[in-house]
C-alpha cells in the first residue's frame, strides 16, 4: 500500500487469516490520530508521518497491525480514464467529452487515497460532470473556446488547457 496523500481517504478491505476460525468482527484504531484518524472504518490522512493502525476484535484484542504512512503531495499528474498520461493541451469538438483522472505523487512515490483533489475551471467552453468518483471529472465540450482546468491538493496544483472547436 502506497503512502496516503494528506487530505485523502482510504477505504481498507480488512480481513484476518487466523488458523481454525473465520474472520471475526474487526475494528480499526489509529495509534497516532494527529497523523491518521479512523472514521467509521475509513482512514483519513491528516498530516505527514507514520501511524500504526491496530486491527482488533470487538473485545479489544489486537489480531494484527500495519504501519500506514502519510505524505504531502508534491506533484500532480493527469491521465485519461484509459491511463494515457496527459502532458499537453486537449482538443475536443463540441459534444465530445474527456474524463481526467488525477494522480498524486511525493517525488517518485505515487500516493494513494481518494478525495484529495480539488477541481476548478476557468472558462465556459466545457461543462463539468461528476461520475460518482470523488477524484475523476468528466468534461463535455459545449461551445467553441478555451477552458483551463486546475486540480490541486494542498499547495500543489497542476492545470491543463482544453480547447473546444466547432
Amino acid at each position: 500500500m502506497a503512502p496516503l496523500a494528506i487530505g485523502t481517504h482510504f477505504y481498507p478491505d480488512v480481513s484476518a487469516e487466523i488458523a481454525g476460525t473465520s474472520t471475526p468482527a474487526l475494528r480499526l484504531e489509529s495509534a497516532s490520530p494527529d497523523v491518521l484518524t479512523v472514521e467509521d472504518g475509513v482512514l483519513v490522512a491528516r498530516k505527514s508521518g507514520a501511524s500504526a493502525v491496530l486491527i482488533s476484535t470487538d473485545d479489544g484484542s489486537v489480531v494484527d497491525f500495519v504501519h500506514v504512512w502519510v505524505a504531502p503531495a508534491t506533484k500532480i499528474t493527469l491521465a485519461r480514464r484509459d491511463g494515457d498520461r496527459i502532458d499537453g493541451a486537449i482538443g475536443l469538438a463540441v459534444g465530445e467529452d474527456v474524463t481526467l483522472v488525477p494522480t498524486l505523487w511525493n517525488g517518485a512515490q505515487k500516493l494513494s487515497g481518494d478525495g484529495g483533489a480539488a477541481w476548478t475551471i476557468d472558462g465556459d467552453a466545457v461543462t463539468v460532470l461528476r461520475d460518482g468518483s470523488s477524484d475523476r471529472r468528466r468534461f463535455r465540450a459545449r461551445a467553441p473556446g478555451k477552458t483551463t482546468v486546475r486540480v490541486g491538493n494542498g499547495e500543489t496544483t497542476t492545470s491543463v488547457e482544453i480547447e473546444v472547436v466547432q
Binding site: 484476518a16 495509534a31 508521518g49 507514520a50 501511524s51 476484535t57 479489544g60 484484542s61 489486537v62 489480531v63
Partner: protein, 166 residues
C-alpha cells in the same frame, strides 16, 4: 543355542556415563529455562523504516533483571511472554497510558510449552502514544513480575537531502 553377547568393557561404561551426564545436564537446562526466574519477553514485529521499535534485555550478575523498550511515537510493537510456555494469565499495565498504551493481543501462533506441548502465544501490543518515559509491569499467574522501562521517542524530522523539491 543362541547366546546373547554383551559388551561390558570399561570404555562402553564410560561412554554411557558421559551420555547420561549430558542428558541430565540438558534436562536440567530445559527445566531452568522452563521455570526460569520470571516471564521472558520477545519482540515479534519489526520497526517500520526510519522508526524505532526495539526490546532489549537488561542483564545483571545473576542474569536477566528487566527489559527496556525504545519505541517511536505512533509505532506499535508486538511482544510475546514466555515462562516455560506461553505466559498464563498475562497482565501488562502501563504507568502512563498517555505515553505508552498496552493492548491484549491474539497473534494466532503456537509456541512450545514444556517438552512436548504447544499453546497459543501469550502476547500484547505496545503502542507509542507520545514522547516520554514510563514503565510497564508484567505479571503472570506464577506471581513473578518483570519491569519494562519504556522510552517513546519523537519521529525523525525529514532531512534536507530527503526533502523533495517542488
Amino acid at each position: 543355542m543362541t547366546r546373547f553377547q554383551s559388551d561390558d568393557s570399561p570404555d562402553t561404561h564410560r561412554f554411557l556415563g558421559v551420555v547420561y551426564a549430558l542428558c541430565a545436564f540438558a534436562i536440567l537446562l530445559a527445566l531452568i529455562a522452563s521455570t526460569g526466574c520470571g516471564p521472558m519477553l520477545s519482540a515479534q514485529s519489526p520497526a517500520p523504516p526510519g522508526r524505532s521499535a526495539r526490546l532489549d534485555a537488561v542483564n545483571g550478575f545473576w542474569g536477566l533483571k528487566s527489559y527496556r523498550v525504545e519505541l517511536s511515537e505512533g509505532v506499535a510493537l508486538a511482544l510475546t511472554c514466555y515462562e516455560g510456555g506461553p505466559c498464563e494469565k498475562l497482565v501488562v499495565t502501563s504507568d502512563d497510558p498517555k505515553i505508552a498504551e498496552v493492548h491484549a493481543a491474539s497473534l494466532g501462533t503456537l509456541e512450545p510449552a514444556g517438552l512436548v506441548n504447544q499453546q497459543t502465544a501469550s502476547a500484547v501490543v505496545l503502542v507509542g502514544k507520545s514522547t516520554g518515559t514510563t514503565k510497564l509491569h508484567v505479571r503472570t499467574r506464577s506471581g513473578r513480575k518483570r519491569e519494562v522501562a519504556v522510552t517513546i521517542i519523537a519521529p525523525p524530522r525529514p532531512s534536507p537531502s530527503a526533502a523533495v523539491a517542488r
